[in-house]
Amino acid sequence: MAAGVATWLPFARAAAVGWLPLAKKTMPKPPVDKKSRNDEILFVNVSGLRFQTWKNTLDRYPDTLLGSSEKEFFFNEDTQEYFFDRDPEMFRHILNFYRTGKLHYPRQECIQAFDEELAFYGIVPDIIGDCCMEEYRDRKKENQERLAEDTEAEMATDTPLPPHSTSRERLWRAFENPHTSTMALVFYYVTGFFIAVSVIANVVETVPCRPLKGSKKDLPCGEKYSLAFFCMDTACVLIFTFEYLMRLFAAPSRCKFMRSVMSVIDVVAIMPYYIGLVMPENEDVSGAFVTLRVFRVFRIFKFSRHSQGLRILGYTLKSCASELGFLLFSLTMAIIIFATVMFYAEKGTKGTNFTSIPASFWYTIVTMTTLGYGDMVPNTIAGKIFGSICSLSGVLVIALPVPVIVSNFSRIYHQNQRADKMRAQQKVRLARIRLAKKGTTNAFLQYKEEGGFQNKLQYTANDSALCLKNRSSFEHQHHHLLHCLEKTTNHEFTDELTFSEMCMTESVGYRTSRSTSISSQQGVTTSCCPRRAKRRAIRLANSTVSVSRGSVQELDTLQVHKTSAGPQSSRSSLNARTEDLKLNCEDRDFTAAIISIPTPPANTPDESLPPSPAIPGILRNSRSSFTHETVKISSL
């Protein structure tokens, strides 16, 4: 029941008095409405824009946020109003819904923003009024399509391979996306080249070459150099066959692959050759054999794998199938009509070309498409009149469906452009997102590094305290939370690089000798960071194997550091870094690594590196300045 009708309920109840004399029994007692009947004005403050409305207005729709007791959660006692931190412009439409009972969709707003607001206020979008329903639906569908496209594009091409893909999957990926690996790219270009060679050979072999000695007739080159052409053809077909078989092998769904258009084209391209091999050089079947050679020209369609534009064209034609069908049908109708008319108009003329209606078809087609070869012309006046009508109407009939096809093509083309642009921007975007994510994790790791877990009172240097205060209370609490999680799971956070290195080291080899050039003067807990920095230096300088070894040891030592943390040493190391703290506080790009190995910590007899002020600086600097610093270390 429409909520607005609720206002008429008192009237309907009053009208029930009319039933009383007819009633045989007493009427039941009416419900007593205890709450105050006085209507009050409510204040709703949406991001500063103050709305006022009657309480009854909002009560009309009790299953929405504003109509139910849910709005009490947003009631601000101090200002005696309901405060919502949402878009005030959108709220206007929401409130109008309560007032008029019809929900309208504002055309200038984003569809997703509108949907979100509706969801927040608990209003179902289905009640959008008829006036706005179509627009709403269209835009929603458009948005969903765009989203689907985006996710498809995201997932389809540039996602890195899952680490444990079979060779078959990798092969398929290489075929589908040639730019992912060098080999695939090479193969792509080679096949492209051979397609071109094959097509050119087909074309050239029909060109007349100079005749053989002693003969006057011009031979087509194909027959003069038949062996050469045959070899070239064989080579191309071999390559194509090989490619086809590879694709067949790599395809995730062989049946689906065999049914796809490209696969059919491939088969059609190579079949004639094999059939030609098999068939004998018989005069009777050579006619059929010659026909088969025509199919070789289909190799040119293989280029559509290499060209985006061709694919778009093909897709457009497919999607415009109905318009093309209509065009064909109307043309056929017109051709038949005009051919008949022309035939009967020219029937009387002697020696006319219009010998039959089917013969007139040729004239009609040539005229309607405004070709006008002139091999058939009408002679009678009636014929000429009808001929001119034919050519005029031809223009019209062809011009009608063409804009539809054009607009389809344009839409698909732009969609593709957008997809390509998105893909190009995707990389940059993902990189930025990764950087931002790393920023937050690194903030935490940096926080830990600076001994943030220690009591602040222990810090003596003003700088360090200042630096730590730069973090908001939000960050403090967030970091505390992450720390709690670490303690709970007995694992620690790390960054991507070190983790991937970890994976590599696990496969390479684990516990190598502890003989490193790093020692610890102040015991195990001293300056894990310089050690780490040294490891980094080694990593850059040496081969990957030693690097992995180094990093593993680094991990061990770090583990040790974590479990046996002594405040003094860490503090001293902190103090040593005070001068660097200031300049490095702003730099969030931090490549610290703390990886946990769930193994008992080993007491590593490490040498210590004399703590130098330069070393901690390495920790904080971004990777770009890394190499510069490592030089310093190796010199030490």
Binding site: A15, G18, P21, K25, P30, N38
Partner: protein, 224 residues
Amino acid sequence: MGAVVGTLTLQTRQRRPSRATMFGSTNHDRVDDDLELSVVCHRPEGLEQLEALTKFNKKELQVLYRGFKNECPSGVVNEETFKQIYSQFFPHGDASTYAHYLFNAFDSTQSGSIKFEDFVTALSILLRGTTTEKLQWTFNLYDINRDGLINKEEMTDIVKAIYDMMGRFTYPALKTDTTKQHVDAFFQKMDKNRDGFVTLDEFILSCQEDENIMRSLQLFENVI
């Protein structure tokens, strides 16, 4: 309530002299259902006047008018809208016939549309009026042809309209002669002199004798 904010009616000039009369706007408040010709609004008489006329206070009138105006921005209700609104309260059956009779009862001036004054006057009678007034209103409702008498046909129509509102699915099921029985029972009670007609006095008298009816009439005090 008398404040006029912009005007859409075609007959503004004629309106002013009629302000002196109470419900005086009969002759030029005909609502034109044809949207192309005009958008006629009716504005009711002032709040004070209505307050004097009815037994509602200012606040109640305000609430009533706001609801009324919301549903009918033009200020009048025509029969179709009225039927639609009333039918929404009785989704099971067909309330259009009874709504028709109700409409006629509300439309005291027989203008074809209910204005706010009609609406409020009727409500005032039904909710705040004396028993006699209420019974008089009911008699008017039953007296379809406004001849001062209720005959059996009128009563049958009314009763049938009421049963129509029940719809088909009732318990116990409606029988073909339920209506007739009901009407006969009614006449048995009301028609004192057995002449086949019920006059106003007979009606009021009979109702006052009936305990049930009297008690039920008190129940509708607090609807607003």
